[in-house]
Symmetry: none
DNA sequence: CATGAATGAGGATTCATTCAT
DNA sequence: CATGAATGAATCCTCATTCAT
């Protein structure tokens, strides 16, 4: 794998789009080459194998999914909590553009499909599973930190921050999962409704 | 596809076990034949194609996953609600035996893997997606019915039964998903903790 | 690799002919399939890989090269010595037919080419080298046994049987090598001349 | 192909070493580039194709193998005969250094491997076969010349010089061949023993 | 001179599926 | 019912070669 060539990142992004379009079981090197607009064999100048490319492509997903979630100190807990929710459910096209050169047209669909496909692959591949586990922890900890700050400042009720973070986290992940895997069109809305209620409840002033 | 031959069902079950062992992307007709203990060509006497078999195999999963959840009239809402939770998270070996001739050794792992693989496939296959959607609705309605009965009888607080059912449902599905796809060993326990709190809250006598 | 199917042997023979026609560096599975008159993928029902097939094909060469050389007790040392020489340099079509179903048209050319190609491959492959080493020893020992018997019976002069056997063996091998690898058309005749002189010398009655 | 640039010769030598390390069937342009310590594309500035380079590389082998064998008038036939034998079986490191800038560490192994690989390729390539034929003739004639001089001067018995030269030549070639292609470690010693006996016999004073 | 990106043809291997028995 | 031989399409990957810089 070579160094800082832009091509390498372009290949990763092409793999991301191809995965969102074909799924793991059906994804071929030719599909990725098509998406890349170049000869498939070029891929092997930058990656040793299809597996290595796909593992490396996880980075693209991670960047899209959690960049910004856990980077800043917490200023306004409730606003930030709601923003994390929004970010996980509805990727901001502007931020996506900063991370990805040529994002897919429908980024929400692409993200949820890729999420399901990558997590599904993690069942069988230890390297992948290490990444999925780490990514989930990162998100849960980010939410925990926001909750903790809110509680310390008295803006949130004194709930168990880790437990509540996990609770929210489970709901958000499942929203993404159901969106990709069923015809229940309003599932995401439903999750948002539930999550909003929970946040309202935590943040309520009583 | 021929009639209700025992062989046909044995093939479906073999496909289920093979899927739990290899995953969708890696599943071959030979794998299924191995699991069946017979020549792979035999499968084509009963099913027109691999795809048809796998679609048909969804029935095995449905039987395992929801049989019993929605069949009886509701007697004791809280007990039955807790039992639905238990059933979705921890398949009862006795009941599994009634539905499946040769279940896999570790049925919890098998169930959660197959769940993720089948739902993942539903992204790409409309027939599958119709089934996943219907199955989810069936579970959500079963929970809704229990909640509604409990509320009518005054045993539960007057929550929105559909909303709460969806809430519980999302958590239960995500437990299965996280169990299969990450190294977070105690995720299922965590969901049970959260779900128990919710049920306690609904059923609380105040 | 399956058992006693005739197809397996037919594949080995096809590989032999294809090797004689294309050489090791240029030998493809498609070439072997062509020679076999069947689809190349059939080969993989009988052999795990091209390498495994080619190793197994060594047996065909061994059968052709040394069968009969070392099987019988020695009756007439000089005649048998001359016959071994003849066999190694000029395979008898009748005997070839017994060992091989469809031998190549020009068996002498084929044998010497295959010899050079297989021995060349033995440089890089330990399994092959074990076979070439064993085969050479078998031939040298067969010649040694004939010489020893002739000496014991007083029909040969009391030469060192092992040394003389090696001497004859080196010349015979090189005849095959030079025949395949140069334009020196009469090299084999030249070796026969030299070998005949040596045998005359050993068997001379003085 | 450009002129007599030093780089051109360095490429030929790199090809020689790469051939000794990988074998013909496995030799890639990248291997040669690695051995050269430079970018493989550079090779195409000096040679039109891999085939052309390898044909040109034969010169390196010829230089190593026969330089000195046939250049001088004969002074001491027996000594010179023994020296030709020694040179063909055990390349002198000093002389190798004069012909090759960076010879491989184990020159004997390299020489015998390259010999087998090149001669093997000569089966399939007329240009190569012309070279192998010419080289062999040159060696045989050099030996013949020495023998003839020895006989004329009465230092050797009046054997047929061409026949004896071929005899010695066959043995020497086969020593190289067996050394590279089998595990018979002492084959070269064995050939030397036989060849020494022959020379002793020719040179004997009776 | 020298590099490295890029191409395209070819090769080994896998696998769903068919068919004769 | 059941087997196993056989096919052919598809897939991953390699590698000689070209070209822009």
């Amino acid at each position: 794998m070579k160094g800082a060539s832009g091509t390498e990142q372009r290949i990763r992004e092409a793999a991301f789009r191809a995965l969102a379009e074909h799924g793991y079981a059906d994804l071929t090197i030719v599909d990725i080459g098509d998406e890349l607009g170049q000869n498939p064999s070029l891929i092997y100048h930058y990656f040793d194998s299809k597996d290595e490319l796909l593992l490396s492509m996880l980075d693209v997903f991670v960047d899209l999914f959690v960049t910004g979630v856990d980077e800043e100190p917490v200023h306004d807990p409730e606003a930030e909590l709601r923003q994390v929710v929004a970010q996980l459910l509805h990727p901001d096209p502007v931020r996506v553009q900063q991370v990805m050169e040529s994002p897919p047209t429908d980024i929400e669909t692409a993200m949820s499909r890729v999420f399901v496909e990558l997590w599904g692959h993690a069942i069988w591949d230890d390297d992948f599973r290490a990444e999925t586990t780490a990514l989930e922890e990162r998100v849960r900890e980010a939410i925990t930190a926001i909750l903790r700050t809110g509680i310390e400042r008295g803006e949130f009720r004194p709930v168990d921050p880790k437990l509540t973070a996990d609770h929210l986290f489970f709901l958000l992940m499942q929203a993404t999962h159901t969106r990709a895997t069923t015809n229940w069109e309003t599932a995401t809305d439903r999750v948002e409704e539930i999550v909003d209620d929970i946040i309202d409840d935590i943040a309520r002033d009583d």
